[in-house]
């Protein structure tokens, strides 16, 4: 015993902090409701448990193997429960776990967290541990040996938490040497191990073990530290050695856990123990388990000639994941940030729909489709809300009006306050409202007057030119354009731009009790009409159910028309003789939400169709399609035009083809625009007959005088 130096130095497995998310929730609540700016030290409770063989589990590739997990000290929401709780003082909690008293320093700012005199805090706790050893308080309540420190700073605005644990361990006067390490089974009989298991539960985290001589009696009992005199002094068995034990959170096969360190100091200081047998108590699930289990250590303790009068040196700050002595942090945003929670909830809700109803639903495609809403009135408000419900995250409003007192009751993104002081700009007010509804949306409001044929103001030529350029840029940066203005001629330029730039254009217009929702035909590609050559958007998946193989051999179907294709007159000033308000109030109020919802659903059907905007409309049938008829794609038909009639509560599906003299989408117009850009638009605006002349419509009019197709439900 006097020359133990050839034995290896005993190394202890450090504790690893494990913070339950509920701890951060509770800390945030306490900070707001209780502590406020008071940064005084608070008592908290930590928990550890005997290492549990089954809790260490790790996958490597397809192979599942057991690895030794960390020795954890956990803090949870319960850690803040009152210290006076009688159960916790006893040292054992329900599940065979152990409590450790801790002290929490929560600072108010990150600067205070940095500046906090950590060495002083650490030394204070070390002093208290030492004091509990020298006074004997730790004999009565051994949990005092596991006192720990937690420094925190809660950044409640960013849901971020900075923290640092310290598990103070008093350093021995000289290194502890280990003479033998054996599994408990090699030291004690099965009966004795079972007696140990049942005994530990009733006693506490540190205990004495009284073993009868192995030869005659096969008994073992677990005793509290308070019974030292009775157990050790009168122990006549064996070599007169001392056997102790502790609840060991470590699963290391040859090393004890950190809590043993202060216990050994207690043994040396209080009882002058210089050699000891220690059982590191760990849990095993069943006798057949071969995974790490309790171990027994035979140790030599260096004992000083005199008990030191001051606190020994002390270590135990937890290292961060880079093995540096540095704080750690936790990001609770996904659980605490209402914006992130809303984001996740909306996303998962749509996925639920996909799983339940339409497995092929292209949620990602929908979410990434950028929508431009030309018009922020009744239709614009409703369209935006329905887009939001579908998970569309990028919505831009265009309008040049302000919110008036008649608007909020019909236009669901506005409230009374928006009308005050002359009214807020509609586009901006709509975008702001959308963000209040769902902060995750990227919504913008653009105050812009759409240049319109027949609305020429000579003095505003420059302004008109820049408006054309602005609108062109906006159409360019979006994927789908909704035409939702309250006049016919304001739809002309966006129709032209949408067609020219290959965007999806959805048009919705209201009559008194009828509505029109239509998609504009896409620009035909010169090479072929086959599905692979269409520019925007690319179908992300080939059709799973090819309805026919004859598409290749038949000539391509005629292109679909636009809003202006059936017109025999060019768009002109239809607004001069009536006010805007008169015009919007002449529809049945329920009509706009019906039309808007239909418009959005049409976009969704387009996006989900394998051919996207090039999807063919349903072929004409002698009788209207019956709702129980099968549809080629899960979301159903992708009609060209839907006309709703509130008088009869019915819809008609109509297909109209592109007109080669159309003032908005004919090749002539597209070519002129491609060649002259804004100058062409200005010509069209300045001269009401210009479009009719260049398209040949004028000549047509003369030929077919008085023929009025009257298809546009918005007019008259």
């Amino acid at each position: 015993m006097s020359t133990p130096d050839h034995h290896p130095i005993l190394q202890f497995d450090p504790l690893s902090s494990a913070v339950d998310p509920t701890f951060w929730h509770a800390l945030s609540r306490n900070k707001i409701e209780v502590y406020r700016l008071d940064d005084a030290a608070r008592a908290i409770t930590g928990y550890y448990a005997p290492y549990h063989a089954a809790s260490g589990h790790q996958q490597r590739g397809a192979v599942s193997q057991l690895v030794v997990g960390a020795a954890r000290l956990a803090v949870t929401a319960q850690s803040f429960d009152s210290e006076d709780d009688s159960n916790s003082r006893k040292g054992m909690n329900g599940g065979g776990g152990v409590v450790a008293p801790g002290v929490l320093y929560n600072t108010n700012t990150i600067e205070e967290f940095k500046k906090l005199d950590k060495s002083a805090v650490f030394a204070q706790v070390a002093d208290r541990i030492w004091e509990s050893i020298t006074s004997g308080a730790a004999v009565a309540d051994p949990t005092l040996l596991t006192r720990f420190i937690l420094l925190t700073f809660a950044d409640l605005k960013k849901y971020k938490f900075w923290y640092w644990f310290g598990f103070p361990a008093l350093l021995p006067f000289a290194p502890v040497r280990v003479r033998a390490v054996r599994p408990v089974r090699e030291v004690w009989s099965a009966r004795q191990v079972e007696a140990l298991r049942t005994g530990v539960r009733g006693v506490g985290p540190f205990f004495l073990v009284k073993v009868a001589s192995a030869d005659d009696d096969d008994t073992l009992s677990v005793r509290g530290l308070g019974e030292w005199d009775e157990v050790v002094r009168h122990d006549e068995s064996g070599d007169g050695g001392v056997t102790v034990g502790f609840v060991d959170p470590s699963g290391q096969p040859a090393h004890p856990g950190w809590p043993l360190r202060n216990f050994l100091i207690l043994l040396q200081t209080r009882w002058k123990v210089d050699a000891v047998r220690v059982v590191c108590y760990r849990e095993t699930l069943s006798s057949t388990t071969t995974t790490p289990t309790s171990i027994v250590l035979d140790l030599t303790l260096p004992t000083p000639s005199t008990t030191p009068t001051t606190t020994p040196k002390c270590v135990g700050w937890e290292k961060n994941s880079m093995a540096k002595l540095s704080p750690r942090s936790a990001d609770l945003g996904p659980l605490m940030d209402p914006r992130q929670l809303a984001d996740t909830a909306v996303d998962l809700n749509l996925k639920l729909m996909r799983w339940r109803i339409v497995p092929t639903l292209q949620l990602e495609k929908i979410a990434t489709t950028k929508c431009l809403l030309v018009g922020s009135g009744t239709l614009g408000c409703h369209v935006a809300r329905t887009l939001l419900a579908w998970g569309v995250r990028h919505i831009t409003f265009i309008d040049n009006g302000t919110v008036s007192f008649s608007n909020p009751v019909r236009q669901p993104l506005f409230t009374f306050d928006d009308c005050l002081h002359g009214g807020r700009p509609k586009a901006q007010a709509a975008a702001d409202a959308l963000k209040r509804i769902f902060p995750g949306v990227h919504a913008t409001g653009i105050n812009l007057a759409i240049p319109m044929p027949g609305h020429y103001v000579p003095s505003a030529r420059d302004a008109t030119t820049s408006a054309v350029e602005r609108l062109t840029a906006l159409v360019e940066m979006h994927d789908a354009v909704f035409l939702l203005t309250d006049s016919r001629e304001s739809r002309w330029l966006p129709t032209l731009l949408g067609k020219s730039l290959g965007k999806i254009v959805i048009n919705s217009a209201l009559g008194f009790d009828t509505f029109l929702v239509m998609r504009h035909g896409m620009r035909q590609c010169a090479s072929s009409a086959s599905s692979s050559s269409h520019p925007t958007p690319t179908p992300s998946e080939p059709a799973t159910t090819t309805t026919t193989t004859t598409t290749r051999t038949t000539p391509p179907p005629p292109a679909l028309g636009c809003y202006f294709c059936n017109d025999v007159v060019a768009p002109a000033d239809s607004l001069s003789d009536r006010t805007l308000d008169q015009q919007c109030t002449v529809t049945r109020p329920g009509l706009s939400s019906l039309a808007s919802a239909t418009a959005v659903e049409l976009l969704i059907s387009i996006l989900n169709h394998p051919l996207g905007p090039n999807a063919a409309p349903p072929p004409p049938t002698p009788t209207p399609p019956h709702p129980s008829d099968p549809t080629p794609t899960p979301l159903g038909l992708v009609p060209h035009q839907i006309r709703g009639f509130l008088t009869h509560y019915t819809h008609l599906l109509v297909t109209g083809h592109a007109y080669d003299k159309c003032t908005a989408c004919s090749p002539t117009v597209l070519e002129l625009y491609a060649a002259h850009g804004a100058a062409f638009v200005l010509d069209a605006i300045e001269d009401p007959t210009y479009l009719e002349r260049v398209t040949g419509l004028k000549q047509m009019q003369m030929a077919t005088e008085h023929l009025d197709l009257e298809w546009d439900v918005e007019d008259e």
């Binding site: 690893s16 913070v19 951060w24 589990h57 790790q58 996904p334 929670l341 996925k351 339940r356």
Partner: protein, 207 residues
């Protein structure tokens, strides 16, 4: 005759207790928390890469590092990186509304930072063969929503219970083992969904 909620949750409790017994004997214990909740925690599955978060955390941590140095300590076991730890917790809670057991789950790192569903899926996916992935999809791993945990009050992921009743009915009809309670059958499906996490001892059910 429609059984009332209380007697149903009593049935759940009885089934849960028998399940706990089974899980203990199959070396994969669950814990009863209260009359309508059983819980299992799995530690230390392989950590998925959280690049942006992690690098953010680490660089900030460096920034906060001070001239902290401790006494030279021969007694500390040098630890390998323990930050691989991901804590995955499963709570089976009886829903009075749906009258079926509902699986709540959550995963977080040692710091308490939650994993997103995608990160968790990456953890669960492990090195699974395709066929299991298909089975998982069929049984609805994607049918996950996020809800406040009814007992803890913090957001948890949950497998939507709308299909559970039908699944239980189907499983009960298929089973010819009277000892296999509906809860156990359902747990075996859950075990497959979350495989290879040792949610249950699958081999026990594959007899």
């Amino acid at each position: 005759m429609v059984p009332d909620g209380d007697s149903l949750s009593a049935k759940f409790q009885a089934d849960a207790l028998s399940y706990l017994e089974t899980s203990r004997s199959s070396n994969n214990p669950w814990t009863l928390v209260n009359h309508c909740q059983i819980v299992k925690t799995i530690f230390n599955v392989v950590r998925v890469c959280r690049e942006e978060t992690q690098s953010g955390v680490l660089s900030q941590g460096e920034e906060l590092a001070e001239e902290m140095h401790e006494e030279h300590d021969l007694g500390a076991l040098p630890c390998s990186s323990r930050d691989q730890d991901v804590n995955v917790e499963f709570h089976v809670i009886y829903s009075q509304t749906w009258q079926v057991p509902v699986m709540y789950f959550s995963a977080w790192t040692a710091s308490g930072s939650p994993l997103s569903l995608d990160e968790l899926k990456a953890v669960i996916k492990g090195g699974l063969p395709e066929i299991d992935e298909q089975f998982r999809t069929e049984y609805g791993m994607p049918v996950v929503s996020q809800q406040d945990h009814p007992v803890l009050g913090v957001p948890f992921f949950t497998i939507h219970p709308c299909q559970t009743a039908a699944l239980l009915k189907e499983l009960t009809a298929k089973s010819n083992d009277p000892a296999l309670t509906p809860l156990m059958s359902w747990m075996s499906v859950m075990g497959t969904v979350f495989h290879p996490l040792p949610l249950i001892n699958l081999s026990y059910f594959q007899r």
